[in-house]
């Protein structure tokens, strides 16, 4: 089979203003976004539910993950197998994802499979059966997935960093939960969690690709209009907060890895708040592309790192900035010094106009072109809606980013870059 040979992030120098997105709020509170495109013959429907990692009770970490997995394992109308066969008959696929801020379910299909895709999605979120044998089976698989995440050096290092930044709550938790807690969960736990958290006003449904907006809107209203959550109104979940660091710390985990994985991070602003856009520029200056400062310094000039990158995740709560590198164990000190030298340079030296413009163009390119696929468009529309970003956020992002000055970059670096957490995963610590 002809498979994707490599993942390519697509770029564009100007951000297209949300592809003619239409927005509707159904009477039950479900927010619906339609992003039609004439240039594709496939579609994607993504539902994000604002059920964050903090929704898990402390003694039931992983309940939200298990509950969400079970949506695809049968409803009160048909078995999971029958659901799968109906979707397969139109060439569709379905996946679920469990992130720190939300739960996701996405269906992709050729455009003429829209109705079947929506039908499956509607059934899954409105009438899951939670059959006892399915609960037991999914528990086994959820435990295996939670264990596998702990064996992944990147995930393991990132978890260590988040635990130091946020403590054991919220973003300091494993998104997939704890294997020991998962083992104890019951069908009653799952059903109670579902009844409490799955509600239309907590959800956003975005459909993108080769769809016709009017008929897609009608199909959504038909299938989701009668969805009712519990009468009890739930308070908006508290957003995670990251306290400024009082001192720098090192935390280390032992795993059978070939190289040392290091992550150096510190708290950073939430989306669209003061300093967010300047921090985006800092991320681009340091790790945006193969010729940014970190790959140049650590990989090309010093030959220290096999892999080096930076990331600044968009989160509903306070975010963080992190630099990730894979190095030889004996190169830790040198790699750390090289990274710190780049951070110090940001604080002490204004970025040139040329480099600033380069960093912005790179960011805008990544922003727009990573949203070319219909599934990325659906996800992006739903995520921005969930974050409370305005409908024209793409244009706002471009405007605000272009307005960032060299002085702001340096001020932001001076404000945010002080203490840090250094998280390590190595064969021996």
């Amino acid at each position: 089979m002809r498979r994707a040979l490599a993942s390519v992030i697509l770029l564009l120098s100007c951000v297209s203003p949300s592809w003619g997105t239409s927005r509707e709020v159904l009477p039950n509170g479900l927010r619906v976004l339609l992003v039609p495109s004439a240039s594709t013959e496939v579609m994607a429907a993504t539902m994000l539910l604002a059920i964050p990692v903090s929704a898990d009770p402390p003694d039931k970490l992983g309940l939200r993950y298990l509950t969400h997995r079970l949506l695809l394992r049968g409803t009160t109308r048909e078995t999971g197998e029958a659901m799968g066969e109906r979707l397969a008959a139109v060439g569709g696929t379905v996946s679920v994802n469990c992130a720190l801020d939300y739960l996701e379910i996405t269906v992709r299909a050729p455009s003429d499979g829209l109705e079947v895709a929506l039908d499956l999605l509607a059934q899954a979120v409105q009438s899951p059966a939670f059959l006892p044998e399915e609960v037991e089976r999914e528990k086994t698989r959820a435990i295996a997935a939670a264990r596998a995440a702990r064996d992944d050096p990147f995930q393991c290092t990132y978890q260590a960093l988040r635990e130091e930044l946020y403590g054991k709550e919220a973003y300091g938790r494993w998104a997939l939960g704890e294997p020991e807690c998962l083992r104890r969960l019951t069908r009653e736990d799952v059903a109670a969690f579902y009844r409490r958290h799955y509600r239309p006003e907590a959800a956003v449904l975005a459909i993108a690709g080769g769809i016709e907006a009017v008929s897609a809107g009608g199909a959504v209203r038909l299938r989701f209009g009668a969805w009712r959550g519990p009468a009890e109104r739930r308070a908006t979940p508290a957003r995670a907060t990251g306290e400024p660091l009082a001192s720098s710390q090192i935390t280390a985990r032992e795993r059978p890895t070939a190289r040392l994985h290091l992550m150096l991070g510190f708290p950073a602003p939430a989306v669209a708040t003061q300093g967010y856009y300047a921090m985006q520029v800092i991320d681009s200056l340091l790790g945006g592309g193969s010729t940014a400062r970190l790959p140049k310094a650590l990989r090309e000039q010093a030959g220290l790192a096999y892999e080096v990158s930076s990331f600044y995740p968009t989160l509903a709560g306070d975010s963080h900035f992190a630099i990730y590198a894979v190095v030889d164990e004996d190169a830790l000190r040198e790699a750390k010094q090289a990274i710190l030298a780049q951070l110090t340079r940001l604080r002490e030296e204004p970025v040139s106009a040329e480099e600033l413009a380069h960093a912005k163009r790179y960011l805008l390119g990544v922003y727009a072109l990573s949203r070319q696929e219909s599934r990325r468009q659906a996800y992006s529309a739903a995520w921005h809606e969930l974050l409370g970003c305005p409908p024209d956020f793409a244009a706002l992002y471009q405007e605000k980013l272009n307005a960032v000055t060299a002085e702001e970059v340096q001020d932001t670096a001076r404000t945010l870059i002080h203490h840090f957490i250094l998280a390590l995963t190595a064969p021996s610590v």
Binding site: M1, A88, K296, E373
Partner: protein, 416 residues
């Protein structure tokens, strides 16, 4: 996906092929330079040269780094080495001069008369690190062992992508320059562009960047043809892990057997698709025998490897093997029902549509087929899948119904 009316080709006087999908509404131009030489074209003494050369050229760095020219306008670039070819690619925003910029950058990347030894030394270290990471990743280790075991060390597909350690360590700038002079010649390369660009614009840009290169003889060598089905073998590796990974590996069809490629693709969907796959349900249904499974099958010039991998508890390895053998035997003995065949065909065509939704996806596909034969096959693929009959699936299933080559990577037993 691929509208034959918009895909055109041309060739420079020196033999370099230009393939363009004109998409006036696209917001990007995606470009790929494909060199029709990869790991399988290395002589044993230069094992590792194709991949190391790709590293050295793409990440050469220094003043005038072509990657910076692409990233400067908000573009991205990467490169990769396969058994049959090597490719360098970029995507840039559409606009005046975009195609020219992308083509010029790719040309500057690959057209070097001389390689600095220091760059080669640096990239050798990066490759060593890649090898170490691959060895630590059990699914990748499984894949490497499967190729080595099924094809054997004498077959070019049996060599590791990064090279045999002894020959890799001996590689230097001079050796890479020899490989470069041999294979990076215009009549062994193609440039593919998809997006807001015309054939005339693309050809002019390619002519300017590559037109001065002289045509040169390209060595030819025939790939050995492994028997199908291959003799069964078993390789066991003990590792520090909690679960076992195993792969059943088979010899599948080559690009020259397109109907069999499509039938094998359909068979992989029949087995492994999460919504309806027979083996998937049997292994991951109730009661679950395995944690996860998947199929690797990438079409190649020669007969390609079909690998079915499963992760399970060590105690379930035998049950998994039995289930896999039984499902494959059933596929070889009983034709699939019309309903099941129709669903599998829809899923296979849909997967192709998903991977070709964007200009860079379409560029990658056109370049892939051009590297293995002719880009026109990209447009034929969905039609070939739609034409499949139940008997086609049964026919290829017979290749896979015997005892496969087993690769088992499992937790070390105590005392060993």
């Amino acid at each position: 996906m691929f509208d034959a009316r918009t895909v055109h080709s041309d060739a420079l006087a020196n033999g370099l092929r230009v393939i363009v999908a004109e998409e006036a509404d696209a917001s990007v131009v995606a470009a790929e330079l494909v060199v029709k030489a990869g790991v399988a074209d290395e002589r044993p003494a230069e094992s590792g040269a194709a991949h190391l050369l790709e590293h050295a050229l793409w990440a050469y760095g220094g003043p005038g780094d072509p990657r910076a020219a692409l990233e400067e306008v908000g573009g991205v670039t990467n490169a990769g080495t396969r058994r049959d070819f090597t490719h360098y690619y970029a995507t840039v925003p559409a606009g005046r001069g975009a195609a020219e910029l992308a083509v010029r950058a790719l040309a500057r990347m690959v057209l070097r008369d001389h390689l600095e030894e220091s760059v080669v030394v640096r990239e050798k270290k990066v490759v060593r690190d890649e090898v170490a990471e691959r060895s630590a990743s059990l699914p990748l280790l499984l894949d490497d062992l499967a190729f080595r075991t099924v094809y054997g060390e004498d077959h070019p597909y049996g060599r590791p992508l990064e090279g045999e350690e002894s020959s890799f360590e001996a590689l230097d700038a001079t050796a890479l320059e020899v490989f470069h002079r041999t294979w990076y010649v215009p009549n062994n390369m193609a440039v593919v562009l998809v997006g807001r660009v015309t054939l005339a614009e693309a050809t002019a840009a390619v002519q300017q960047a590559f037109g001065a290169l002289p045509r040169a003889p390209v060595p030819s060598h025939a790939l050995p043809v492994p028997p199908r089905p291959a003799p069964s073998r078993e390789v066991r590796v003990g590792v520090d892990a909690k679960q076992a990974y195993l792969m059943a590996a088979f010899v599948g069809p080559a690009i020259t057997e397109p109907a069999d490629v499509c039938a094998t693709d359909a068979l992989t969907v029949l087995l492994s698709e999460a919504t309806c796959g027979r083996l998937y349900r049997r292994l991951l249904g109730t009661p679950a025998v395995a944690h996860s499974m998947g199929v690797d099958f990438l079409t190649q010039k020669g007969r390609a490897l079909l690998g079915i991998w499963i992760a399970c508890e060590p105690s379930k390895v035998e049950a998994v093997r039995r289930a896999l053998r039984e499902e494959l035997s059933r596929l070889a003995a009983e034709p699939v029902s019309p309903q099941e065949l129709a669903a599998v065909k829809r899923l296979t065509v849909a997967a192709y549509a998903f991977s070709n939704e964007t200009p860079s996806g379409r560029t990658s596909t056109l370049a892939f087929y051009e590297a293995l034969g002719n880009y026109r096959e990209a447009g034929q693929y969905p039609w070939r899948v739609r034409a499949l009959r139940a008997a086609d699936v049964t026919r290829v299933a017979a290749w896979y119904a015997g005892e496969p080559t087993w690769i088992v990577v499992a937790p070390q037993e105590k005392g060993t």
